[in-house]
């Protein structure tokens, strides 16, 4: 007879298995997991396979962006396979989940290395990407970093990482330039206490003050903070012409609402961590007119229209802010392989270094000596009627 007191262990194991099964079942139903490269239609003649890794947050607070990036990479893989693969080899992928957490990222990186990926793409949260640079460096695996762009990554890069998203330096410069253009003379800045946003805020303050202007308010909140009333009160008493929020969209939306409700009428600008559509959705009407130093959204890239269509056909959503960049990252990788003429990781790295004006959706890609993008790809966006619109 089943007696809970004595058969608790059995119950425990049963519950565990039930959840595991449920979890596995959910995963299988998720269309993202369907490897497009296994489409029977392209069972063409391949000479072999080459394994590429994808490292993005597929769980946690940034899972939406991470999954979006994974989708974009998979799309690029599908396309190249349909065209016959890279040098006749079919591209297969494996995804590591960094969960936007440094410890998880380290484990994911180890996993990818042990699966012997030839190269990888991905990298969203700078804080999570950072410790993995050493791991990939030691293992000698080239990493095309699609989104992470904190300046701290530059110093820690042992030479195997390639950042194709403009860095915090460029973003700050873009923000500063725009503020100047609008005639703003004093600004208030706020970040959300993590690697990426703190870095961007620091860069902005540096450049703003170098240009001879003043920062009148400077504050930090925790991720998950909802109450900005103290900052709002400070702003209302110091009255800066502009405010720059360098954190992510969840807190950013709240800040925007509370600023406007508090009576602030100056310019509000957000960094690319808040470039998701979600910012506008959460802030509602108050988002109207908010500016953003954003990545090139697929909406505004003429070359990307075809990409958007293919993306929406394959996945049940529209491409997110970093889809274009990740797509470019994957295609750049394939291009580098072709140029190197081999799947040797070191030679791929050399080929990446030598990249000269590779035509990505987001613009031409070349690298500086520090393996960062040789130009700024930030644009100014403005929230109009509930969506981002390109300015100038």
């Amino acid at each position: 007879m089943f007696n809970l007191k004595t058969h608790w262990l059995l119950l425990l194991v049963a519950v565990l298995f039930a959840f595991a099964a449920f979890g596995c079942g959910e995963e299988a139903a998720d269309p993202v997991d369907d490897d497009p490269a296994e489409d029977p239609a392209d069972e063409a003649e391949f000479e072999g396979e080459v394994l590429i890794g994808i490292m993005v947050p597929t769980t946690g607070s940034e899972a939406a962006d991470g999954t979006d990036m994974e989708n974009a990479a998979l799309l690029a893989v599908e396309e190249i396979n349909e065209a016959g693969g890279v040098m006749g080899h079919r591209v297969i992928t494996t995804t590591g989940d960094d969960g936007c957490d440094p410890s998880m990222a380290t484990a994911a990186a180890s996993q990818l290395v042990s699966e012997e990926v030839v190269a990888l793409v991905g990298g969203y949260c700078s804080g999570a990407t950072l410790p993995t640079l050493a791991i990939y460096g030691e293992a000698g695996i080239p990493f095309v970093i699609a989104a992470s762009n904190a300046t701290s990554l530059i110093d820690e890069n042992p030479g195997w990482g390639f950042m194709i998203n403009s860095t915090g330096l460029d973003q700050a410069a873009t923000a500063v330039a725009k503020f100047q253009e609008l005639g703003v003379e004093t600004i208030g800045v706020m970040d959300s206490g993590d690697a990426y946003s703190a870095d961007l805020k620091e860069q902005t303050i540096l450049q703003w003050e170098e240009a001879g202007y003043e920062v009148v308010a400077d504050d930090t909140v925790q991720r998950g903070e909802v109450d900005f009333s103290a900052f709002v009160t400070t702003i209302m008493s110091t009255q800066p012409d502009g405010i720059y929020w360098t954190g992510y969209q969840a807190e950013g939306a709240l800040l925007i609402r509370q600023l406007r409700e508090g009576g602030y009428e100056g310019v509000i600008m957000v960094g690319d961590g808040s470039s998701a559509q979600e910012l506008i959705d959460l802030a509602g009407d108050e988002a109207e007119g908010v500016l953003c130093t954003g990545p090139p959204l697929t909406d505004f890239l003429p070359a990307a229209q075809n990409f958007i269509q293919r993306y929406e056909e394959s996945f049940p959503r529209e491409p997110g802010a970093y889809a274009a960049l990740t797509y470019d990252a994957a295609r750049l990788l394939f291009d580098a392989m072709e140029r190197a003429g081999s799947f040797d990781s070191a030679e791929i790295r050399d080929a990446l270094e030598a990249t000269d004006g590779f035509e990505g959706l987001a613009g031409p890609i070349s690298f500086t000596d520090q393996n960062t993008l040789a130009r700024s790809n930030f644009v100014i966006l403005e929230a109009r009627d509930g969506r981002w619109a390109l300015v100038e």
């Binding site: 769980t59 946690g60 607070s61 899972a63 939406a64 206490g193 504050d219 930090t220 909140v221 925790q222 998950g224 903070e225 909802v226 109450d227 900005f228 009333s229 103290a230 900052f231 009160t233 400070t234 209302m236 008493s237 969209q249 969840a250 939306a253 709240l254 609402r257 406007r260 409700e261 508090g262 009576g263 979600e278 959705d281 959460l282 509602g284 009407d285 108050e286």
Partner: protein
Amino acid sequence: MAIHEILIQQLFNGLLIGSFYGLVAIGYSMVYGIIKLLNFAHGDIYMLGAFSGLVFLSIVAPTIGAGWGSLILGMLISMLLVGLVGVFIQRVAYRPMLKAPRLSILITALAVSMILYNTIMLLSSGRFLPFRTEISTESFFLGPLRLTETRVVLIVAAFALMFIMHMFITKTMYGKAMRAISLDRDTCQLMGIDVYKIIALTFFVGSALAAAAGIMAGVYYGTIHFYMGFLIGLKAFTAAVIGGIGIIPGAMLGGLLLGLLEAFGTQIPFIGTVWKDVFSFAFLILFLIFKPNGLLGRSESERM
């Protein structure tokens, strides 16, 4: 803005946030008083309230809109449902543990908290959800004070709830029973009081209040999130300790006080929003060292 304007604005902000803290702290205090459990999951009850309010609104918004009427209805229904959830949790997880060591029941509360917020996390895909209402957010001035319609209604509602609570505790039989049980549970049982029913009622009321606070927070901030209960749980505990744990007026007072402390503290240049939470926790520790019975508490060796 002149100094006095800043002060008045922060006074109002402090009272408003403080009233949320107070509402949640009441539940904490009540439960501690009656079964000596620090209900770690209480903050998540607040979160549940916010989410159930959101669900209700999204269901009825197409038909009756999302104005004050729907909100009040939503709040009442949420309070009822979440109150029942609180009773359920108490029945399943806490009641069997009443005779167990305090360590065990605390860990149980921790487990309940994990279950609650992770369930909501999975249901909401971890996203921040907008709490859409059709209430205007136009601000207006009342003297030097900048207000919105929402803020005024919220603060009035919060105070009203606290007042009702106070009446309930001091004037009704149930209230008296609750206080009696917190003094000596076993004697009450011997005297024929249905202790378990009163405990269940305590959880119901405490959870309903927290749910109300949760919905108010949803309206005020406009966004809700599965983890919103964590910090408020800690703040509510701090408030309860400041006021005197186990004492209802203490919880209300503690909440308001904490809200004010935070509101004014963050204006001190050294502190700002950056150190706001450290500031609050520091107060918690200070009170626990120097005045563990809180402001309204009687000195009772038993309380420690």
